[in-house]
């Protein structure tokens, strides 16, 4: 039933949603600003930025893609993609040379999770921007 419904909805043209999604990746909530939803965009920006900055202040580690056994590859590559989804915050932290090694301790561990989760929350924001741009959501 769900598959039938999906098949009936045509894919919107890429020009309609790609700018909002791209801006949404670069600046969390930026896609919503582009789509004239400033309130939601501001809340998303504040949440993702706060999460990322808290992660940095807790000295969380950034994941680097690594090869090895399946679990190592999955965790490190997935974590790296999650970090990267924070957009400008990830880029700025790289440009300014943030390079915290992975250390033992619950605060560092929370920090690492905060950094990844900031990216994952931004993925949710990008999907929301896509749905608004595609006309599937107000």
């Amino acid at each position: 039933m769900a598959k039938e419904k999906e098949q009936k909805e045509p894919m919107p043209p890429i020009g309609a949603w790609a700018p909002a999604v791209a801006v949404g990746w670069l600046v969390p909530g930026g896609g919503h600003f582009l789509l004239k939803k400033p309130g939601r965009g501001a809340l998303l920006f504040a949440s993702v930025a706060s999460m990322f900055v808290c992660g940095l202040m807790m000295q969380g580690a950034m994941f680097q893609p690594q090869n090895g056994d399946l679990l190592t590859t999955l965790i490190n590559t997935g974590g790296f993609i999650g970090d990267m989804c924070s957009g400008i915050f990830f880029l700025l932290s790289q440009w300014f040379g943030y390079n915290q090694p992975d250390m033992a301790g619950h605060v560092h561990d929370y920090g690492t999770k905060f950094l990844v989760t900031a990216g994952l929350l931004n993925v949710l924001a990008m999907v929301d921007a896509y749905e608004i741009a595609a006309g599937r959501k107000d």
Partner: protein
């Protein structure tokens, strides 16, 4: 960059707060529903936080 040294509870509280805001914003279609869902997810996080915390405390003996 100033350092932040939080307890488990404080870190989990902040995590719940930021995540609930985003889940509330992206999930529902009206502002009223967004607010309700955001508060609901935040309360769920806190219930899980206290529940799992007590379970670990009691399970540890």
């Amino acid at each position: 960059m100033p350092k932040m040294n939080l307890s488990h509870f404080e870190a989990a509280f902040l995590f719940a707060l930021f995540t609930s805001v985003v889940l509330g914003v992206v999930t529902k279609k009206t502002d009223r529903d967004r607010l309700h869902y955001g508060v609901y997810t935040f309360v769920c996080f806190l219930v899980a936080l206290f529940g799992i915390g007590w379970a670990m405390y009691l399970g540890h003996g």
